[in-house]
């Protein structure tokens, strides 16, 4: 007889089940060897597929063919005139920008935090199960700490998250509008927790739920299906993103803060 849970293994492996069903599958996997083996084999096949894809490179001639075939926009003369006009306009713009910044009219440091969070949730999604590969694939937090320090000039403690059963998969970084972000990926049975750290530029964070954890003000929010926790410390902003329940997220975030 085939387990009724079997049909959910595939979406479970992809992190596409809603929380109650995912919990049900998770509980079943703890008891059912057959389903557990099937899931593990599924993940092994996925890993092999990714390995094969990562080893492949497009032929160099293909890039040349693509670039030589891209449509051109304007004639050289028009390009010169536009370049001249651009340079002159740029000079004026720079002067104005300096004036405005100095008068705090254009607060660069403060931006729309909700818009930024939307972008960060989108980036986090890219690292989903079987998603974008990490630059530093290591479960040793020291590797990630060293890499972040060297690459981004960011120094912060990285939780190993073993307390919650999560394993650190690795680290990566990305840029958005000139800002650099450190990304850490934790995984447990197909569930992903993202941990993003970046410099605080005076962001104004005003979410509905606030929890005091010692001296730190932890704020809890949500974007679509992703639960979020954010706090500031030492000039940095720490953001946790996960599909776990709010209560699990809260406990997880509190434990991370207590590591400081």
């Amino acid at each position: 007889m085939v387990c009724p849970i079997r049909q959910y293994l595939s979406p479970y492996a992809d992190g596409e089940l809603d929380s109650p069903k995912a919990k049900e599958v998770k509980g079943h996997l703890e008891a059912c060897v057959t389903c557990r083996e099937e899931l593990n084999f599924m993940l092994k096949i996925r890993s092999s597929l990714k390995q094969g894809a990562a080893a492949l490179r497009a032929p160099r001639r293909l890039k040349v063919k693509i670039l030589s075939g891209t449509p051109k926009t304007k004639s050289p003369r028009t390009t010169f005139l536009w370049n001249f006009a651009y340079t002159a306009t740029l000079a004026v713009t720079v002067v104005l920008a300096v004036v405005l910044i100095s008068y705090n009219y254009w607060p660069l440091g403060k931006g729309s935090f909700p818009d930024l969070v939307d972008k960060l949730v989108a980036y986090h999604t890219l690292y989903g199960p079987g998603g974008k590969p990490l630059t530093v694939e290591s479960s040793d937090s020291k590797d990630a700490e060293l890499w972040f320090n060297q690459k981004l000039g960011l120094a912060f403690l990285i939780p190993n998250a073993a307390f919650a059963g999560y394993k650190l998969e690795g680290a990566d970084s990305f840029e958005h509008k000139g800002r650099k972000f450190a990304y850490l990926k934790y995984q447990k049975e197909g569930k992903i927790v993202g941990y993003i750290v970046f410099k605080d530029e005076g962001f104004s964070i005003d979410w509905a739920e606030t929890v005091a954890v010692g001296e730190i003000e932890l704020q809890i929010g949500k974007r679509k299906e992703t639960n979020l926790a954010v706090w500031k410390k030492g000039g940095l902003v720490y953001l946790i993103l996960t599909d776990e329940d709010r209560s699990e997220l809260l406990e997880y975030a509190e434990r991370c803060i207590q590591l400081f």
Binding site: D14, S48, A53, I66, L67
Partner: protein, 186 residues
């Protein structure tokens, strides 16, 4: 200034688009099954993308957008050529693997070295993928290799999320069946 902004935008778009060249080429190989066809498919994909730059609102979504163009292009090719690249001979493939093991006794041994088994599995799974029907292959490489969500895959291939889910389940079931020799060893 508008033109210079367009130039800068175009350059940034080109850089971003070409950063996915290896992934797209791999996907094209899995679709077309032939190196020359794969190169032509990728080239046509980029040509269309560069010609319709204004349709892309957010650079973050460039990868699924490129895949959408490539898959639609490939579908058009298929309908014109009336040719399915790959055979749906799942049972025959499983039988071939067993036969191959008998012909080459070394590969049939229970090799305790996990690395050798993994390497063999890696090579074999690439071939097994090509023996899936094309509509299964597409969802497997969009999900397992590129890591797109079901929603993104649904938008790329133009099918409901439920269809994506069922195709993935069946595709993985087929792959698991084809590779069962490795499952026992794993």
């Amino acid at each position: 200034m508008i033109f210079i902004r367009d130039q800068k935008k175009r350059k940034k778009f080109e850089e971003e688009a070409l950063s996915h060249l290896d992934s797209l080429y791999y996907g094209a190989l899995k679709l077309a099954g032939h190196q020359q066809d794969a190169e032509d498919l990728v080239q046509e994909t980029y040509s269309k993308a560069f010609s319709h730059l204004n349709q892309l609102r957010d650079l973050v979504k460039i990868k699924p957008w490129l895949y959408q163009i490539m898959i639609n292009t490939w579908k058009n090719w298929r309908s014109k050529r009336s040719k399915e690249v790959v055979l749906d001979h799942t049972e025959e493939w499983a039988g071939w693997l067993t036969q191959n093991a008998q012909i080459n006794p070394q590969s049939h041994l229970m090799n305790p070295e996990k690395e050798i088994i993994d390497r063999e599995l890696c090579e074999t799974v690439q071939s097994a993928l090509m023996h899936l029907p094309s509509h299964y292959r597409v969802v497997v490489f969009l999900s397992d290799i590129e890591g797109f969500s079901y929603k993104e895959i649904s938008e790329i291939i133009g099918r409901p999320i439920g269809t994506v889910m069922s195709r993935l389940s069946r595709a993985r079931s087929h792959l698991s069946h084809m590779l069962k020799k490795y499952k026992e060893r794993a």
